[in-house]
Structure formats: structure tokens, C-alpha cells
């Protein structure tokens, strides 16, 4: 901790771009997002400012550019003719300004500052909260160890899949697919994020259809494959659905975190007795512009504070826009210790097959993760069981330092996966 002071603080680090010197931009942000500079209340202002004003911790200019990343109306007033500075700043905010209030914490570190006319780019890179401040938020209840215990999977990644088609399946068709997946030895199943409570497959009907199937396999296996059933809705609906899942013996619930929102997830978490599978759909909006938004390092901390247990990170060689390097950084961020906020189990998905296991193992350095494959399991030429087996074989080979080709000689399922998916 630099610059020790008497008051307790949390910090936010940003990438910024401006036509102003970054020192001045940092002061504008510190002012705007704390006591401001607007009003002088007689006799009170100095003491108040000392107590409440945010503090610039560091300013690190990196480079000059000629063109702004984002437009600002201030440019119409002749600003920016001398170019723009990009760099990083860190701001410390008094904890006393906010208290343990997640939405107000976000209003502070990710509020009006994105609209400042002085900046032509602003990205929240990371958050740094003292341990005893972290302790006051909802936080993950199960994390990796709790998830492994409930799933009965103590070694290797949880091999999983997604119910597809995304929408359209009746409760009965869903239950048949779940039956086939359990039969095939799957560890983990999740709903698609587009499927929650549609009229043709109401939540309760899906739950009633699926749970007896899961229970039957649990009796055979001695463990129940974990099914992250999508309970997204308003908070009362989510709590009621959680209670139904829990009463029926289910072991996981899923929510679309961005579109239920931090306060809703936190409110679910404080009621919840099951791991919360966090689906980040919409994440691209928050992060895909390099000059705007929230980096995953900060984003996953928001959801740790809210209390999710698993968070999607995309997958290596995925079908989306995201480079592998970004996926790897996201997964590592989920797995890093952060005070009493348990590490999140990162969820790898999108175009995954047995062929990405070795690289994923090598780059993440552990197997405390979920590896979800759609076509790589359900589309395996040998069927679902062979698809699941091929994924496990590939992970086992990676853990043993064995090449995929060597392992494939002993495992026909893996050999078939390589033949079918090897052009990736």
C-alpha cells in the first residue's frame, strides 16, 4: 500500500485517454466521484473535503496519439489539437463514502466518469479493496471446493455441456436430453441463457421433468450431475425458483448476471443455498472496446462481491471475437485469491472439444474449471458417452504430460474426436 493514511480506502485503476495532462484528469475524476469541487458550505468545506475527497494515488502516462478513441463535445471547443495522452491512473476512495453497498460502490468507480468530457477513453482496469471491506459483501458461498463437493467431482475439470437447441425444447425433450447426457457420464449441464421460463416450457414444468431424471442417475452414480437451471427473472421469481430447485434436490442455479444486475444477484445470494452459475451474456458490451468499459479483472471482482460461484470466460480457439490471451487472463483472474471472496470457478465454452484440453491445461496451470462442449460432446461421432470420454481422456493426458496423439492410441474415443474435430 502506497501513501499510508489514517483513513480506510479502496482503490480503482483506470486506463484513460485525454487532451488534458493525465494529472489533471485524475483530479477531475477524484473530485467528480467524491465530494466534488462545486459548493463551498460555510465553515464545513475544508473538514468535509479532508474526510470525503478521493485521492489520486498514481498517474502513469504511457503514450501520445493524434486521434481520440472516442468523441467528446469538448473537442468542438478546440481541445485536442495538440494530441491525446493515454496512460493509467489510480484513485483511492474513502470507504466511508460508500459503506458496504455494491450499487453505490459501482456508481463511484463506474458511474458518471465514463461521460466526462475531458476523457476520450476510460476503462476500469481493476479494483483493490481492503480485506475487511471485502468481508462486508455477499461473496461466493461455494466457490470451487463447494462446487466440487456438490458435484462429487474431486479431480480434473467438470466436463459439461449446454442444453441445445437454445430455445424450443419441450420439458419432456429437455428431460430426455438430460437423461442421455447423464447416461453419457456428464458432470455438469447448463441451460442456455435464452431459456428461462417461456410459455411452451415453463420453469416449473422443466424442473418437474428434469429432476426425477437427475435423481435416478444420482442413485446409480452416488453423485448427482450438476444441472445449472436458469432461474433468471425478477428477484422474487428467482428466489422462488431457487427454493423449488433446492427442495427438489437440485444442486445449482444459473442467472444472467448483467441483465438481472448486481443488486438482484446479491439479493439472490443472500437467500441462496446453492452455487450460483454466473452467465455473462452481454459481456461484450462492457469490454469489447479497448477505450471504454470494464476489464474482466475488475468485472469478476464485482461478481465475487455480489456472490456468484462460477463465471463464464469463453474458451480457447472460441468461435467469438476474443483472442486466447484474453480468455487466459480472464480465467486466471477468476482463480486468483482475493481476501475472503472465494475464487470463482471459470467456465470455458464456445466451440470446445477434446482438442482444447491440453492448451487450456497448459495455460491455466490447473483443472479447477468447467469445460463445456456442445458439438464436442453431443456431436461426437461415437455419441455422447464417447464425447464425454474424449474430453476426460484429453485432460488426463494433459495432466500426465502425455501428447494428444500418444493418448489417442490408447483411447478410441479421443482418436475419434481428433478425426472429427481436428481441423480446428
Amino acid at each position: 500500500m502506497m501513501g499510508s493514511t489514517a483513513r480506510a480506502e479502496f482503490r480503482a485503476r483506470y486506463w484513460v485517454e485525454s487532451f488534458e495532462p493525465l494529472e489533471r484528469v485524475a483530479e477531475v475524476i477524484a473530485g467528480e466521484q467524491s465530494s466534488g469541487t462545486f459548493l463551498q458550505l460555510a465553515g464545513e468545506s475544508d473538514e468535509l473535503r479532508a474526510r470525503a475527497r478521493a485521492r489520486v494515488v498514481s498517474v502513469t502516462p504511457r503514450q501520445q496519439v493524434e486521434q481520440p478513441s472516442l468523441f467528446s463535445e469538448h473537442l468542438q471547443r478546440g481541445r485536442g489539437d495538440a494530441g491525446f495522452t493515454q496512460g493509467e491512473i489510480e484513485i483511492a476512495f474513502p470507504i466511508a463514502n460508500v459503506g458496504a453497498n455494491l450499487s453505490t460502490l459501482l456508481a463511484t468507480v463506474a458511474g458518471n466518469l465514463f461521460e466526462l468530457g475531458e476523457v476520450t477513453g476510460l476503462r476500469l482496469l481493476d479494483l483493490d479493496l481492503p480485506d475487511d471491506f471485502i468481508d462486508r459483501f455477499a461473496r461466493p458461498q461455494f466457490g470451487i471446493a463447494g462446487t466440487r463437493r456438490l458435484a462429487g467431482v474431486f479431480y480434473g475439470p467438470l466436463i459439461g455441456t449446454i442444453i441445445k437447441p437454445s430455445v424450443g425444447l419441450t420439458p419432456e425433450a429437455t428431460a430426455q436430453l438430460v437423461d442421455a447426457l447423464c447416461e453419457g457420464g456428464i458432470d455438469f449441464i447448463k441451460d442456455d441463457e435464452l431459456m428461462a421460463d417461456p410459455p411452451y416450457a415453463p420453469f416449473e414444468a422443466r424442473l418437474r421433468a428434469v429432476m426425477p431424471v437427475l435423481q435416478r442417475h444420482a442413485e446409480l452414480l452416488g453423485r448427482m450431475p450438476m444441472y445449472a437451471i436458469n432461474i433468471s427473472g425478477d428477484v422474487d421469481e428467482m428466489r422462488r425458483r431457487h427454493d423449488l430447485v433446492h427442495a427438489a434436490g437440485g444442486s445449482c442455479v444459473m442467472v444472467s448476471v448483467n441483465w438481472t444486475g448486481p443488486a438482484a444477484v446479491e439479493s439472490l445470494r443472500r437467500h441462496c443455498e446453492l452455487p450460483i452459475h454466473g452467465h455473462r451474456n452481454g459481456w461484450g458490451l462492457f469490454s469489447r472496446s479497448p477505450a471504454l468499459g470494464i476489464a474482466f479483472e475488475a468485472y469478476q471482482k464485482i461478481w465475487r462481491l455480489a456472490g456468484v460461484d462460477h463465471l463464464h470466460v469463453n474458451g480457447l480457439r472460441n468461435k467469438f471475437w476474443e483472442p486466447d490471451e484474453s480468455v487466459v487472463r480472464s480465467a486466471r483472474a477468476c482463480l486468483a485469491p482475493w481476501g475472503s471472496a472465494l475464487p470463482l470457478m471459470p467456465v470455458f465454452s464456445s466451440g470446445q472439444t477434446a482438442l482444447q484440453a491440453a492448451a487450456t491445461h497448459a495455460r491455466i496451470g490447473c483443472d479447477d474449471l468447467m469445460h463445456l462442449a456442445g458439438g464436442g460432446i453431443i456431436g461426437h461421432p461415437g455419441g455422447i458417452a464417447a464425447g464425454v470420454a474424449s474430453m476426460r481422456q484429453a485432460w488426463q493426458a494433459a495432466a500426465n504430460g502425455q501428447s494428444l496423439a500418444d493418448a489417442a492410441r490408447m483411447h478410441p474415443e479421443l482418436a475419434a474426436a481428433i478425426a472429427a474435430f481436428g481441423d480446428k
Copy 2:
């Protein structure tokens, strides 16, 4: 409605940029965000697809560009060498895929599609829901007429201000300021979004300090100045705080909509007996990149569905990045009819004084709005009452078609505002 079909649909319109023909991009989005194209379930797939698949309504290429707005890993695979097409597409989704579930509606229209590798820019421009689908959401409870009734202000804009400094004031100092503002004839007061329930000014202590002041002025005036007290927190906290405000005779609650989130706002709304003042802090993140995010036309519809009554739109000649044209479009979007989802009362703020009244009146064409000034009221050389009077005088002049200079001859408060703030 184009292309009438038997099934009920809602529509989303996007700006897109891609190295692929936009027709193909539209089909990818329609597939990805509905039944997909991934799995052929024996005997079911054709019927299922006919029922569940989203439909491309229109594709309108606009221009070719050489450089992509956003990076995609697909560009590394040789895509984009022939340039990029920008344009608009419209997609129709079966209502039956989603039902009346706001977070799943958002997962559908604003979910994984932002991450598609085929697009190098994607922005949700607008949403089009059939009236009987709108009816099934929470929706605004008070809107403009309900707000005017509770505030006792039936003509002209609600003239308001923000409690400043943003953070640091004790409950007693807040109550003193509220007293001075009421004394000065204010219609509307809001908390800063950074102030909710900090340790030095807990929510209940603030409420206890402020409400007797408001009650006293209400008895004198025959109407209570509306105070939008910031209740942001988890859903249980927000509901409890709402109940306290309501029981104490308060007439409005404020929430940070982005950082509590759609499901939390909706859950508050279903419990709420007061207008919800929607603070959009963080909005810049959603909208400031022209190649990514959500346009305000769509954004304000999300919050209408969730049930807010007022929504911030920035102000003309504001201190932020946003051009006036964008502010005007936002306010008009709030005021436009949309089925049974009442128009939102747009809230103008940021660097406002009496000097923006005429232009705001001219460009919005009505006065069903809140006009909030900080320095323009509290910093008026004649004090708060003169600041409020100057704002009203300016709006009255605008409504009468009188020039500001003419009006200032009759109104010393307005003349003083022009002298003090006229350099803007």
C-alpha cells in the same frame, strides 16, 4: 408491421459492421439468439425451428469502410481484407421464446451477440414490442402525470437541484440544505448518486432528519417538494427503505438503475408505491462508443419495462462529452408514447442554469420535464430563492415566446443569472 405471420414477435434493430455480407450476419444473429443451427434432434428439428427461430426482417447496408471499428480474432484468419460493411438490420424474435421475463428478453436482444466474431461493431438501436407484450411487464406506475400530481406542480417543468457536496454531508447538514432549498421555492431535490447509506450519514438518519423539514414546508405550501432519496442497495434494502420513505410521507425514491440492474428495479417496482427516479450513472459505458452498446432509444424502453418513472438525459450545453443533439433525442425518446408503458419524465441536468431554458423548451417542444441546476440555483448571486426564480422566469419567457433579454428587464433574478452565468 411487415411480413405478417401467425406467430407473435418482438423486434430489435441494430447497427452492425462486418467483413461478411450483412444478410449473412443477420442470419447468424437470428440463429445464435434463438434456436441456433447447432443440433439436429431427430424428427423434431424442422417443427421446432419453425416455431422458435428468429427471423430477419430487413437488412440495409449503408457504407463500406476499410478499417474495422472493433477488433475480432476472425481478422487474424484473413477476414476483412476486402473491407467492412456498415448498415442496419432488424430481427424478429418469437415472444414465445422469452415470455414476460425482462432479463431473458435482454439476454436475447443484448446477449452473446456483442461477442460474435463476425461483427466488428454492433449496437442495439431500438426495440419494438407489440402492445399486449408490453402490458405484461412492470412498467412505470406514475409517469409524468403521477409525478406532477405528487409534486403539486401542474404547469412548467419541475425546477430542481441536487444535494451537494456529493458525499460528506451529515444528516443535519443535509436537512439544513433541504430546508434552505424548500424555503427558496424548489419543486424537486435529489440525492447525489454517490450518496446512499454511508456510515457517517446512514439512510435512516438522513430520512429522519429530512422528512420533518419537508413536512413543515408541505404544510406551508400545500404541496411537498419532491425529494428523490437514494435508496440504492440490494433489493431487500431498497424495499425496506422505500417503505420507510412512504411511511414518513415522502413522495419519491431514487435508484442507480444500471448498477442495481433490470431485475432489481423491476422487483422494487412491483413493491413500490412511489415514483422511481432512475439515475443512469454508468450510461457512458453503454453508449459512448458509436460501434458498440445500446442507443438511448432502446435503453429507455428497457427501463420503462422495468418500471422507472423519471430518467436522466443530461442537459443542453452540459459539462460532459455528449452533444446537444444526443440529449434532445434522448428526451424525445422518453416522452414518446409506447403502448401502456407511460412516457418517462426526462431529467435535464449537468451545468444547467436559467440560460438553457429557452433552447430546451424550443428543442423538446414541451415542459413535461425536470430541469435540475446545481450552481445555477445554489450558486446564484441572489441566493437559492433567486436561483429558482430565475429558472422559472426563463421557462415562463420561453413558453410566452419572449426573449431572455426582454424577460430579464422585468425580472432582476433572471437578469442576475444572465450576468453571472452568461459566459456559457
